[in-house]
Amino acid sequence: MIKVENVTKKYGSFTAVNNIKFDIKEGEIVGFLGKNGAGKTTTMNMITGYIEPTEGRIEIDGYDMNKKPKKAKKQIGYMPEAVPIYNDLTVKEFVDYMADLKGVKRKQKKEEVQRVIEETGLKEVQNTLNRHLSRGYKQRVSMAGALIGNPKVLILDEPTVGLDPQQVKQIRDLIKSLRKDHTVLLSSHILSEVSQICERVMIIDKGKILAIDTPKNLEDKVSDKNILTVTVEDNDNKIDEVVEKITDIKEIKLVNENSDGTKQYAIFAKDNKDIRKEIAENFAKNEITILELKKTEATLEDAFLQLINNYSIDEENNENEEEVIKEMKKKNEEDSIEEGGKN
């Protein structure tokens, strides 16, 4: 439905989007993740025909955006990030104007406008001027503008940003309900949102697409690294000796020395082996008390962070391990700050 082929966008010497390529099938909901300035909005602006790519081709429902812009644009409903709406119009007038712009036939217009207003829950404010609406309502008005004319493709740029939790839930439910007859591409930097709503996730950084996969697969890829976090009480400092005996351990690193004398280590296993049992047995034999032993569970957030930190999943090298340890240390610090706060 949305086909992006080798698209590049340059501003002078700065490359905002660098040779990206993806294909979104009909009925899919795809999340677009990236830091601020990663190229999400630029990509979306190119898909909607607001700006032209420097190189490459974009196809919407088989229509080339460059050659047949009218037909291609007719398939798209776009909700831009800044939620632009006309403040001097009422909600109904705005939706009506959007219907005119989209070329909704006059006979169906009245019905269509009412349908969209009801679907987005704007019925009670339909005669209010847009300027008097709260942020949440404005967001919905913008959404209504995107939905009018029932376009096949919906491009939503950060649809829930700036909303209260209840409104976020309402918008999410609305997006989920669109699944049936729309193809949706939504950008966000709220990861939980993306993993809840989207079937596939696209991660972009510095204008390049780093991964396109289901949220589950992305999480799995990261947890495959097989890192164990171990907190031990090891008064005789025997841990190095013991670890040497376990052949499946690739490396062990000290993460933290706690104030109560216990130590936290990160253990990297060879070849993705589960070595929890071996560790438990060997440590016990040598009188090292294990207080905590856990496999680091990766979330989409980890996947995201690691991908954009150029973490290469296939090649595990020391540099990356150091990064993981740094992250762990940081987490520990945060925890201790929190605890300190509680005390």
Binding site: T48, A82, D88, L101
Partner: protein
Amino acid sequence: MLAVLKKELKTYFFTPIGYVFIGLFLEVSSIIFYRYTYYPGILNFSYVFFDSAVILTYIIAILTMNMFAGERKNGTDQLIMTSPKSITGIVLGKFLSAIVVVIATEIFSFVYLAIISHFGTPDLSTLGTTLIGFLLLTMAYISFGELASSITNQPIIAYIITFAFFFASMYITNLSDKFSMISFMGLYEKFVEGIIPVEETIALVTFTIMCIILTIIILQRRKNLK
């Protein structure tokens, strides 16, 4: 084009912009009418339109400054530029909506005609050519205002560019009479004499078309630059 035209007219009349424009124009032209036509008892009131064209220089940009600069400032240009409407249609829709406001203003000023008719038979042919000239002049003004609005995202800058351009063109004749062919008031002057001059008509129409085409090109180019 019609969608944009309809919406722009709504904006003009649902906000003070349209009323400010019409109000200012009628206020000044009424003063001129009273002072130079009614008071001396002249039956030719085309000079009302001639003199009130001067006020256009100051206020035409009220109608045009928001056309694209305002949309860009609010980000709503994303809505129109991603709609299936063509850029030409959008530009013409906005252009025509401003023309409609000016025509509405002209219709209001027919009151003067009624007042004069009370005292004698007004010179209708001169009035006719003046109105045609006035319309052509307005088209030129609006098209330039639209162009100015398309090159900036600050309505106030668009206002200043438009105003400065017409202000300069009006007073440039004071430097030398040679400039009268590039002065818009100089072009308009002939119409008030009761004829439709070919050269001047072509000049005004060409200028209008040129500005509209330039606006279209600028908006088209911006897709690449943005």
